[in-house]
């Protein structure tokens, strides 16, 4: 069950529509696929539905119509252990971070490993190394409420990457950092992609997207357009 079927996309949307209650359709007819080892941006104006689309990928929302397949399984039928499995294969950077305020920076980043039952002796060095890489090596024991926005963002990124997931969904992962740090974080995602992880970065930061030649999924008016990029 853990191996990605050859040729099978990691995520596939087919004619997906989404509305909240009796509100307007946020997504109308969205079809696309995310291939293994691919790298793409998800973009569109604020309120276009980027976060909503990512939550559909997480099976946190059910689409009002259409079909979603995650790691080769129909999303509507995934439950229990299979859902846990999908979540363990996916790393998420939330737009609002979702750090646990009562745990230290180090504990937050180690959390995905803790819930997998891994032994601290086995991961401690790894967690510290990743935190050093994102520039938080000196803040291991601090609690999230006293961190700056950019620092929280980097903790959230480190937490999403630590378990080396097959798919990374990052919602505005550079929204709170200066351009230099944004570039450094972007290269972290690119490096991870080189190692085999599929990456989706939701952003409306054009300058960030211009730094790499990559596929762009553009949301507009409830529809999704794909710009395959130059290569």
């Amino acid at each position: 069950m853990n191996a990605v079927v050859v040729g099978e996309p990691v995520v596939a949307f087919d004619g997906v529509g989404m509305r909240f209650g009796r509100g307007p359709e946020i997504l109308r007819d969205v079809s696309f696929a995310i291939e293994p080892r691919s790298f793409q941006f998800l973009t569109g104006p604020s309120g276009a539905g980027k976060t909503t689309l990512l939550r559909l990928v997480l099976a946190a929302l059910r689409p009002t119509r259409g079909h979603i397949r995650l790691f080769g399984q129909g999303a509507s039928r995934i439950s229990g252990g299979a859902l846990t499995d999908v979540r363990r294969r996916t790393g998420i950077v939330f737009q609002d971070f979702r750090l646990l305020d009562h745990l230290s920076v180090y504990q937050n980043v180690a959390l995905p490993l803790v819930v997998r039952g891994r032994d601290e002796a086995g991961y401690r060095a790894e967690v510290i190394e990743l935190l050093q890489w994102v520039g938080l090596g000196g803040q291991l024991d601090r609690l999230p409420p006293i961190l700056s926005g950019g620092e929280k963002q980097r903790v959230a990124i480190a937490r999403a990457l630590i378990a080396r997931p097959e798919l990374i969904l990052a919602d505005e992962p550079t929204g709170n950092v200066d351009p230099h740090l944004a570039e450094r974080l972007l290269h972290l995602f690119i490096e991870l992609n080189r190692l085999g992880t599929s990456v989706v970065i939701a952003t409306h930061d054009l300058a960030l997207m211009d730094q790499v030649e990559a596929r762009r999924l553009i949301l507009s008016d409830g529809l999704l357009f794909v710009d395959e990029g130059a290569s």
Partner: protein, 300 residues
Amino acid sequence: MSALRPGLVPADDAAARSFAGIMAILAFLAALAAAAAVSLSATAADWGAALAQEVTLQVLPRTGRDLEQDVARAAALARATSGVASATVLSRRETDSLLEPWFGQGLDIGDLPAPRLVVVRLGAARSADLTGLREKLVTELPFARLDDHSGWIASLVGSARVLVWGAFALVVLVMGAALLATTFATRGALAANRRTVEVLHWVGADDRFIARAFAFRFARLGLAGSAVGGLAAACVAAAIIPAIRATDAGLRDGGSLTGVSLVGWTGLASIAVVVVALALASGLASHSSVSRLLRDSRRT
């Protein structure tokens, strides 16, 4: 991992304190009931054993017979029985003083045809041939009666058993109350920590992991609360039970008066068992209610 897990669910101090407080009260009640039950059955057993070491011969006066001679004969028959340690004839005055509480001092009972008593102490082995003695009495002294206190012992053991079962039922009821209180508190904690639970799910925790995190937390709180309640119960038991037993010891001779030996190690052990059982119950109830709530929340 184990260093981190107990803290995964943040502690809400006010709610945690009231939960621990409820557990302390419940543990106090259950522990006291358990200690009382244990002490009661021990006391009843003591009384029973004391009564079983002694039998009484009652010799009734009959017109035309010499009572003194009959009594002496009865005592002699008793002494001749195997397993009997001693047989003492109570004098007329001793018999009268036994009757005094019933008739009062003022009444002159000297003229009443009161029966005379022979106190027969049995050997330690308790293998006295009472049946043989009874048979001999029937043939030689048909108006002598052998009382082995079996009626007393039976009713004493019977009422002690009722009280012990009552105390046991109380412990069971308190256990049920603890389960309900834990379920209720867990529900609140789960609602208060929805975002934490959500994050745990996102980073790959399964329901079992989350249920265990809550179970650890409630077992710890339950243990803290019930330990305090159990300690209080032990203090109260140490103060009250010796007083009850002292009254009993005053009626008979002997009996030690130190607190611990009277509550007894079994009494203290029963308190400890109640404390641990309550903590375990908190953990289990919390685990099962989190599992159920998570399963239900996914179904909607």
